[in-house]
Structures are given as structure tokens and as C-alpha cells.
């Protein structure tokens, strides 16, 4: 049974950590990062993603690919929790003597692929899942996309092939925050559900991607209920979640928060601002 209170506390801390990373590295796309904080918390801390502390290359690990690389800096505190990097390293982001950049790359232990350019993660994940499936490994491949990222054509080459192959160890998480760089995405949850269902994927929906209980149930269904092929979790989220001016802005993708505003936000949440 998942300790939801602990999970909520963890999500709150990750939200604050993400803002602190943005304070140190203003180039971080903070709105994109904030929409998937709870999703990543539930995945990593809710017992769904199988990892081994201190061993980022454990052969039987579930592979996590952050295809929406610009929105994945929350990964750093999670990897620190796993002992893949020193927590003190998080303070160094924005400087030159650290592998922690505004987009995670494989110089960071626990980061599997090169991302930043969108639409690549699912195809690469498919190849990984294919190799693992062929050698009867229990390891799964979990890849996080944004909904705007689904514009990229290469995504659909992989969606089609994964369904045709019936890969049961491939899991796509879509952060459906409804906005890309220039504004609102045209499709919503219902439309994406039809599209993925039409391609032959098993679809799980989470109507509030910031509600840890809903996320936990959705991930439980995703990973514990077997499917004959690939699965997708569509999570409805809010871009810039928790920051009113980001939530309401159509062009939140390119907005940066000033350090003074970050301090205000953290103080409002009663944060430990280490």
C-alpha cells in the first residue's frame, strides 16, 4: 500500500527542488518542468520504477528515458535520492564544474539517452525494449513525452511499430499539459486516447496528473495489469503547476522566474530553502 502522505510530501519537496534548480540555472524551462513533478514523483518514489540505489547501470533496472528533456530537471533530485549523484551536486547547476545542465544528458549517472531535441525518445526506447524482450529480461522501458512533442512524426513511426510488434515492456507516459512553445495544443486527453487506442496501444488515463492518489492508481494499472503490447499513460497536467503566473500564461514555455519570485513561492509553501 503506497504511503500517499509521504508521496505528497516528496512531490512538494521535488517541486521546491525544481524551483531551486531554476534559480541557479535560469535557462531551465521551468513551466515544462513543473507540469510533471508529481508524475515523476509517483513513478520514482511510489515503488513503480525498479531501480537499485547506488547502481545506475544495474542490468535489471527499469530504464527511464526523459524524451521531453527540457522538462526533466526534476530528475536530478530523484537521481540524487537514488545515490546516483551527490545531493551537493544540485547546488552546482548553472556553473561550469558539473555535468548537470538545463537538459539532462548521459554524463549524469542514471540518464540513459541524449535528449533535448524532441520526438526521439520513443523510437530509441523501442529499440531498448526490443533487445530486452528478445533476451527475456524483466526490465521495462518507461519513456516520458510531452503532448506538444507528439507533433513530431518520428514518434508515430515508433507508435505504429511498437504496437505491430506487441512489445509489452514498453511504457509511454505523456505529460498532457496542453501547451507547447507557441501556445495551446489542439488535442486533449480524449483525442489522444482515441489515437493511441486506434494504433492498438493499451491506454490508461489520469484525469488529474497532480493528484498523487490518482497517479499512483494509474501507474499501478499501467505496470501491474498485463497488456499484450505497449501501454501509454495520459496524464492531464497544468503547465507551470503551482505558479499562478505560469499557469495562466499562454507562452509560459519561455518564461523565467526571478530569484525574488522563487523565494516568495518557496516561502509561501513554508519551504526549506537549502
Amino acid at each position: 500500500m503506497t504511503d500517499l502522505d509521504a508521496l505528497r510530501g516528496k512531490a512538494g519537496q521535488l517541486w521546491r527542488d525544481t524551483l531551486l534548480l531554476h534559480e541557479r540555472e535560469p535557462g531551465i524551462r521551468i513551466a515544462s518542468c513543473l507540469s510533471c513533478v508529481e508524475l515523476m514523483t509517483a513513478l520514482f518514489c511510489g515503488g513503480h520504477l525498479r531501480c537499485r540505489a547506488g547502481d545506475p547501470r544495474w542490468e535489471d533496472r527499469d530504464r527511464f528515458i526523459a524524451s521531453k528533456g527540457h522538462g526533466a530537471v526534476s530528475l536530478y533530485p530523484l537521481l540524487a535520492d537514488l545515490g546516483f549523484l551527490d545531493r551537493d551536486e544540485l547546488r552546482k547547476i548553472g556553473g561550469s564544474a558539473t555535468p548537470l545542465g538545463m537538459i539532462p544528458d548521459p554524463a549524469v549517472p542514471g540518464v540513459e539517452t541524449v535528449n533535448g531535441s524532441l520526438g526521439h525518445g520513443l523510437g530509441v526506447s523501442l529499440g531498448m525494449a526490443l533487445a530486452l524482450h528478445r533476451r527475456a529480461s524483466s526490465a521495462r522501458v518507461v519513456v516520458l513525452h510531452g503532448d506538444g512533442e507528439l507533433d513530431e512524426g518520428a514518434v508515430w513511426e515508433a507508435v505504429r511499430l511498437a504496437a505491430d510488434l506487441g512489445l509489452p515492456n514498453l511504457f509511454l507516459l505523456v505529460d498532457v499539459n496542453g501547451k507547447s512553445m507557441l501556445g495551446c495544443c489542439r488535442r486533449g486527453m480524449a483525442s489522444w486516447r482515441r489515437v493511441f487506442d486506434g494504433f492498438g496501444w493499451r491506454v490508461v488515463c489520469c484525469e488529474d496528473g497532480h493528484d498523487l492518489a490518482q497517479l499512483d492508481r494509474a501507474l499501478d494499472e499501467l505496470f501491474r495489469v498485463p497488456a499484450p503490447g505497449p501501454s501509454v499513460l495520459l496524464a492531464a497536467t497544468v503547465k507551470g503547476h503551482g505558479v499562478p503566473e505560469l499557469e495562466s500564461a499562454e507562452l509560459s514555455h519561455v518564461m523565467t522566474l526571478k530569484p525574488s519570485r522563487i523565494r516568495e513561492l518557496l516561502a509561501e509553501k513554508g519551504a526549506d530553502c537549502r
Binding site: 541524449v114 531535441s117 526521439h120 523501442l126 529499440g127 528478445r134 518520428a154 511499430l161
Partner: protein
């Protein structure tokens, strides 16, 4: 070694499938007789991804990240649509972890003649040569294609571009791919004229060399090759079924031989849609032997040749 380059290559890979369980073959809906045997005998390590070159490269990258030795096959000009996938998921990714991926494209240069310019691979060498860590390999006969297959055993990212038509035999059946990346086929002791060819145009270079008694080099792989060690020649001419002044063999030779007088023969645009034979295409771009010979004769240096 008779036959086509792709058959020579795939025959080697077919034999290796039984020896190396890590070898995995992908294709973007493109076939070959030996590939049919691979598909039948090793179905668990063969997959057609369908007509999807971007996904072909991405899936190859994912397999390689899990330790597979991957050969990914398609039609040469269509690899350009996967340039970013090659850049990010192969060239960049291989900086962090050794990856073994060999892309094989058939249809280099004008070899898919009547399919028209959409099927002509004229820019691929220039484009893919620009990516660090990508070794672009252009065999000039079946023996060199078979030798290139042996390179797939090593970690690295390679793009091999094969002629679709049988070319005259140049190398013996036991030819080994040279570490230098090139083979000097002829030597002009007077060092007057050096002809640098690639693929089908190496054969034209040999024909031209007969007239002038020229030195001839066949460039199989520009990466790592050091042409600067060759003696200076009064004139260097490059011959390629590829773009001029845009990062192809001519640009590479100029960089290798900064003091040399280099004249390039190749594709200068516009794309030719009406030619029915490879000969007509060569005529259109001054790549036939007679045109090259006449051009060299017209150059100032050649008056005493």
C-alpha cells in the same frame, strides 16, 4: 568477386549471424537475397521496421544501447531524412557509451539511374561526414564491400554507401579494408597528375589515368585517412558522383592538401530528371571519361603533359 556490393556485404553478415549472438539486422522495408536467408534463419535478430528511416536509426540506437551489434539497411538517399537521428542518437550518444551501429545504404551516387534524382545519393557523404564519430565508407567494388562488412565487428558508428549496380572488379577476393582509408592504385613517378576517386568514379579515374599516366587513389573512408603523406603532384583532380564544394571528396582533399591545385569533378546541380542512363547523367555533369580528359587537357598546367 562478382555480384553486387550489397550481396557481397550481406553474405559476410549472414555468416557472422551464426557466430555472434549480439548481431541484429534491421531494414527499412528493403531487401536482398542474403537478407532473406538471414530473416529465415535468425528471425529473432532480424526486423523490418517498415518504410521509416528515422525509426530505423532510433531503433538501431536503442538496440546498441543494450549491447547489440547492429546493421541497419535502407536506400542511401533516404538516410538523409534520419540525419538528426544519426546526429543525436548515434554520433552524440556514442560519446557517452561505446555503440556499434553500421548503417548501410544502397544507391550511392547516380546508381539508381532511372528512378530519378529523388533516388540519387549525391549529398549524403558531405552531410554525414560532418558528424563527429560517423565514418562514411564508399566501397568501389564487391571485394571492398565484403571487406567493409568486417568493420562491423568493431564499436563505432559507420555509414556505408553501396552502388546498386555491379562495378568492375578492382580488388582481390581476400582484400582487407585498409587502416589508411584509401588505396593508391597507380603511381605517377613524375608526380604530375593525381586522380582521387570514390565509388564508381574510381573506375573512371583509372580510365583517365591511362591517358596521362596519372597516380590514382581510391578513397574508401575519408575519416582518419591522411592523404597529406602522398608526394605533391602538379595537379590533383577529384572525381565523385557527389556534390561539389560542399563537403564531399573535393572539399576533403583540399583540406588534406592545402597547398595543392585541386580541381573537382562532380555534381553541380540542377538535378537531372530526364536522363535514362548513367552515361547520360555523366555527360550532363562532365563526369564521363572523355569530358574529364578534355577538361584536364584544357587546364594551363597540362600544356606540356
Amino acid at each position: 568477386m562478382k555480384g553486387t556490393m550489397r550481396d557481397a556485404f550481406w553474405n559476410v553478415i549472414h555468416a557472422e549471424m551464426a557466430e555472434d549472438p549480439s548481431l541484429f539486422v534491421l531494414t527499412a522495408d528493403f531487401g536482398a537475397p542474403a537478407l532473406d536467408r538471414i530473416a529465415a534463419e535468425h528471425a529473432d535478430r532480424f526486423l523490418s521496421v517498415g518504410i521509416s528511416e528515422q525509426n530505423l536509426v532510433n531503433v538501431a540506437a536503442g538496440l546498441a544501447l543494450e549491447g547489440c551489434r547492429v546493421v541497419a539497411y535502407g536506400i542511401a538517399p533516404f538516410f538523409l531524412r534520419a540525419a538528426e537521428q544519426i546526429r543525436i542518437n548515434l554520433a552524440m550518444a556514442s560519446q557517452f557509451r561505446p555503440l556499434n551501429v553500421t548503417l548501410v545504404g544502397v544507391g550511392v551516387g547516380f546508381s539508381y539511374v532511372v528512378s530519378g534524382p529523388s533516388h540519387h545519393a549525391l549529398e549524403d557523404l558531405a552531410v554525414l561526414r560532418a558528424f563527429p564519430a560517423v565514418d562514411v565508407i564508399t566501397p568501389s567494388d564487391t571485394a571492398s564491400a565484403a571487406a567493409a562488412a568486417e568493420l562491423t565487428r568493431r564499436p563505432g558508428i559507420r555509414y556505408m554507401r553501396f552502388d546498386s549496380q555491379p562495378l568492375p572488379e578492382l580488388y582481390p577476393d581476400d582484400f582487407r579494408f585498409p587502416d589508411t582509408g584509401y588505396v593508391q592504385l597507380r603511381d605517377d613517378p613524375r608526380h604530375r597528375l593525381l586522380l582521387v576517386g570514390s565509388g564508381a568514379m574510381t573506375h573512371t579515374a583509372l580510365e583517365v589515368a591511362d591517358v596521362f599516366g596519372a597516380s590514382v587513389v581510391d578513397v574508401l573512408s575519408p575519416r582518419g585517412a591522411q592523404l597529406g603523406g602522398l608526394p605533391d603532384h602538379a595537379l590533383v583532380c577529384t572525381l565523385e558522383e557527389g556534390v561539389l564544394n560542399s563537403g564531399g571528396i573535393d572539399s576533403w582533399v583540399r583540406a588534406q592538401m592545402p597547398g595543392a591545385d585541386v580541381v573537382g569533378f562532380g555534381f553541380h546541380g540542377p538535378y537531372e530528371f530526364r536522363a535514362r542512363t548513367r552515361g547520360e547523367l555523366h555527360l550532363a555533369f562532365g563526369l564521363d571519361a572523355d569530358a574529364v580528359i578534355a577538361a584536364i587537357r584544357s587546364l594551363k598546367w597540362a600544356t606540356s603533359c
